[in-house]
């Protein structure tokens, strides 16, 4: 099984080599083979006697992260969709994409996507699942931005990337939570320990994070906004990613975890209400679109909402209807995208306002479209699979006996059938609009960029196969029911689910009445479309989630640059202030918390008169250095401080230090004088009074802090110093009377070595700064 997942990745490596022969043979032919092989491999598992099977391959056993692939009914449904529609889309793209396009890039991205999608639906290990999940986001980003010379493509790609990766990360959070709680990385084992997770205090968080991941990926309200913008991708990509596979990854995730989560009431509330809102909003907004792919994008959103709502219901009928509709939606939506691509390819535009009357020019395409749209609308005809799933949906929305009646849930339960009908009416309207707007009415060929004619046969093959699927499932729903859908539904529900699908239940069957209501109201609304179009100016009017997204991205950039500029203003004064204040706060807080400030006067030496004098001199000099505003004065007075310090060394019996200090002080003063000529005039900086006050507070505070630290350090000696050892052994071991020098060159010679190195580096740096020529603009 691992080869089925890895095959697309391996083939993606060879695409650049195969791509060299593109003049003779279109790269797409090589790509088409792979999904066909995978499809054949997985199709062998079909049948009533299917049993789930697991294959495990080591990856990182020490972290319990292994390539564990679990094939049950749900995964089988998805892998067949991915490989089957993948093959059709790859074949379609051979005729859709010209040889002048960057075919190599396209097919590499395409194969990466296919492989990672297979990985998502087959993985049993949560971290492998997450890796493939992000891989789908990444490859989808690349595919949406395929025509990266277009600004809209780049915008759409970035938007989908940000939203899906946001969801992906929250999914990772949920997965980590569950892994920690259950101590396993396997999804199946997590589900078998579901009580542990359901009773945990983190359950609301897990549910929220998991659903956030699923909703962003599956374009649920309000995260649906990336999907319409992803329509900038080439049409095969839209058909594959944004109708059949990637947008169903979120659905897959919810379905995969629903044996665990569906026992919670919150799961029902959140998933079904978000699903139903998405259904209504998507279908309502689809009517407003003028771009064929725009209609299909909002239609996809709405249909995904419907599937999500059914998963939320969680009853047997609903789960069966959900997996059934996953299959049905993939067939008719895939074919409709391909139809839109053909119309675009043959007329040069996708704008429905310019199109019309194409039936006579594109008869086959129109025939395909009629099946696709009518199936999407759920028109009660016995050869359309969309009708069955729609009827099952109505049925499910009416039968929610398992759910309690109390409070909000009760309200939601009552509202659901009405909302379902409401959303379906608009589904009907945009489906009719899609078909009749494109293929019926008056043809105005003058406005079309190209003269329309029927598409090449190769381009029609894939949609024909998909529409055949629509019709065959419509005619013989039992054919896919037992061997296929029932297994998937059982995997979602966790127990055996099978449901016979009939076309006819009698006149008084409530879902049929709802379907007919949809039909009647939909027809009326479609015919009076022009009259109520102004409604869109009131709802949504100027409200749009896109504005929220754009505003959010904009604000984020503005505010973060504002925050950065607020403290990174390039002034060293401010940085030093921040550093000192931070040290001050941390040290004082630490001292206050631990009671670290101690005063112990038992070990204090008496003060002598000269020491006091020198100290007073130094204090006076230091203070007047601050107050002066003449640089040379400051240097000279600083010299006084330095000499005072050397005098202190004398007083404290440190002749070597005093010598060094004297020389260094003199050299420093001389250096100051050397560069003095090049220095700007020392001026009083114009600073706000508050800043100067702050400076005062910080410097006094810092001085006080250092004093306190010094006093505390002196007052708390925990053990004897090792200086006695040096005094005793200086002559014995080092052969010198001068203890300081013996320490410097003998006991601790390594420090001296590196201080010499420091001086050498400084000297070389100064030489380099002076001698090496700078850049032109500096001179």
């Amino acid at each position: 099984m691992i080869w089925a997942v890895l095959l697309p990745f391996i083939m993606a490596m060879f695409i650049p080599f195969v791509d060299k022969w593109r003049e003779r043979i279109h790269t797409g032919f090589f790509v088409t083979i792979i999904p066909i092989l995978i499809f054949i491999y997985f199709a062998r598992f079909l049948g009533t006697g299917f049993e789930p099977l697991t294959r495990s391959y080591s990856w990182i056993p020490s972290l319990d992260i292994n390539m564990v692939f679990h094939l049950d009914g749900l995964s089988l449904l998805f892998v067949l969709l991915i490989s089957g529609i993948g093959a059709l889309v790859a074949f379609y793209s051979i005729y859709y994409l010209d040889k002048s396009e960057q075919l190599g890039h396209f097919y590499v991205y395409f194969l990466l996507f296919m492989g990672s999608m297979l990985g998502v639906v087959l993985s049993d290990n949560v971290f492998v699942l997450y890796s493939f999940w992000e891989f789908t986001s990444l490859s989808s980003f690349l595919l949406i931005g395929f025509w990266n010379f277009k600004k809209e493509s780049r915008y759409g790609a970035l938007k989908s990337m940000l939203i899906t990766v946001f969801g992906g990360l929250s999914l990772l959070g949920a997965l980590v939570f569950m892994t920690v709680l259950t101590d396993t990385t396997s999804i199946q084992e997590m589900i078998s320990q579901k009580q542990l997770i359901l009773n945990s205090e983190y359950f609301p968080l897990i549910l929220a994070l998991l659903l956030l991941g699923a909703f962003t990926k599956s374009a649920q309200f309000p995260f649906h906004i990336w999907l319409p913008d992803a329509m900038e991708a080439p049409t095969p990509v839209s058909a594959y990613l944004h109708s059949a596979t990637m947008v169903k990854a979120g659905i897959y995730l919810v379905a995969r975890y629903s044996p665990m989560l569906s026992s919670s009431d919150w799961f029902f509330i959140i998933v079904s209400s978000v699903g139903i809102v998405t259904l209504c909003w998507g279908s309502y907004m689809a009517v407003r679109q003028v771009d064929l792919k725009g209609i299909l994008a909002f239609s996809t959103i709405s249909q995904l909402g419907m599937i999500m709502a059914m998963l939320g219901f969680g009853t047997k009928v609903a789960v069966f209807a959900a997996v059934f509709h996953i299959l049905n939606h993939a067939t008719f939506k895939g074919s409709l995208f391909m139809v839109a691509g053909i119309v675009d390819h043959e007329t040069g535009t996708r704008d429905i306002r310019k199109l019309g009357g194409l039936m006579t020019y594109l008869p086959i395409t129109a025939t395909l479209a009629i099946f696709g749209t009518f199936s999407m609308a759920g028109v009660p005809l016995p050869f359309l699979n969309g009708f069955y799933s729609k009827e099952l949906f109505f049925d499910a929305s009416l039968h929610l006996e398992d759910i309690a009646n109390a409070g909000f849930i009760g309200v939601l339960k009552t509202a659901l059938p009405y909302l379902a009908v409401f959303g379906s009416i608009f589904t009907f309207v945009y489906s009719m609009y899609f078909f009749f707007g494109t293929f019926r009415g008056k043809a105005n060929l003058s406005e079309l960029p190209k003269k329309p004619h029927e598409a090449p046969v190769g381009m029609l093959v894939s949609p024909i196969i998909l529409v055949l699927g629509v019709i065959l499932i419509g005619l013989f729903p039992g054919m896919v029911n037992e061997p296929f859908i029932a297994h998937a539904a059982s995997a979602v529900k966790g127990l055996a689910v099978s449901k016979e699908v009939y076309f006819w239940h009698g006149f008084l069957y409530p879902p049929l009445i709802m379907s007919i209501t949809v039909l009647v109201f939909g027809t009326v609304l479609y015919l009076s479309r022009k009259q109520w179009a102004p409604v869109y100016r009131a709802i949504p009017g100027v409200l749009s989630m896109n504005k929220v997204y754009d505003g959010l991205v904009d604000r984020l950039e503005t505010y973060s640059s504002r925050v950065t500029k607020a403290y990174m203003n390039g002034s060293i004064g401010r940085y030093v202030r921040l550093v000192l204040a931070a040290i001050l706060i941390v040290t004082f807080a630490f001292m206050a918390l631990t009671g670290g400030f101690t005063v112990d006067l038992s070990n204090v030496a008496p003060l002598s008169l000269p020491e006091i004098f020198v100290a007073i001199t130094m204090v006076i000099a230091a203070v007047s250095t601050i107050l002066t505003n003449n640089r040379i004065t400051a240097i000279l007075i600083l010299g006084v401080v330095g000499y005072g310090l050397s005098m202190l060394f004398v007083l404290f019996r440190a002749p070597d230090l005093a010598l060094t200090q004297l020389i260094v002080e003199t050299v420093t003063v001389a250096l100051f004088l050397l560069v003095f000529y090049h220095l700007p005039k020392l001026r009083k900086k114009e600073e706000a009074a508050s800043t100067r006050f702050l400076n005062l507070v910080i410097s006094i505070g810092f001085g006080a802090m250092m004093t306190m630290v010094a006093i505390s350090a002196h007052s708390s000696k925990f053990f004897e110093s090792i200086s006695s050892y040096f005094l005793e052994n200086s002559y014995k071991l080092g052969g010198g009377d001068n203890v300081v020098n013996v320490i410097l060159v003998d006991f601790r010679g390594l420090d001296t070595l590196f201080e010499i190195v420091v001086l050498g580096i400084a000297a070389m740096a100064i030489y380099g700064l002076i001698k090496l020529p700078g850049k032109k603009e500096d001179q």
Binding site: N630, M647, L662
Partner: protein, 103 residues
């Protein structure tokens, strides 16, 4: 004899302390000159004399501490003061300390 020695010792000690006090007072007065100015040559001269006073102070302290280790310090102060004062004077005169060779 011992008494004599003790008296001399305390005499030396007191003299040294008095001298230290004198030098210190002179230091503080010089500090006033160094800070107040009014011109930079005034400060330079003040700094020079501060240095000489420091030599004196170091010598006095060496007497007080009964050590010969500070003799180096005294000599060093002398040399550095000279160098420093010359450098300062040259700076005040010409604006530079080390002149470049003639081009």
């Amino acid at each position: 004899m011992e008494e004599m020695l003790n008296v001399t010792q305390s005499l030396v000690e007191y003299t040294t302390l008095i001298c230290i006090t004198g030098v210190s007072i002179s230091l503080i007065i010089l500090l006033y000159r160094a800070i107040k100015g009014p011109s930079n040559p005034d400060r330079a001269v003040a700094l020079d004399i501060i240095g000489i006073n420091l030599m004196a102070l170091a010598g006095l302290i060496a007497i007080l501490l009964v050590t010969t280790k500070f003799n180096d310090v005294i000599l060093l102060i002398g040399i550095l003061l000279f160098i420093g004062t010359v450098a300062l004077a040259k700076f005040l005169e010409k604006g530079v300390i080390i002149e470049r060779d003639m081009d």
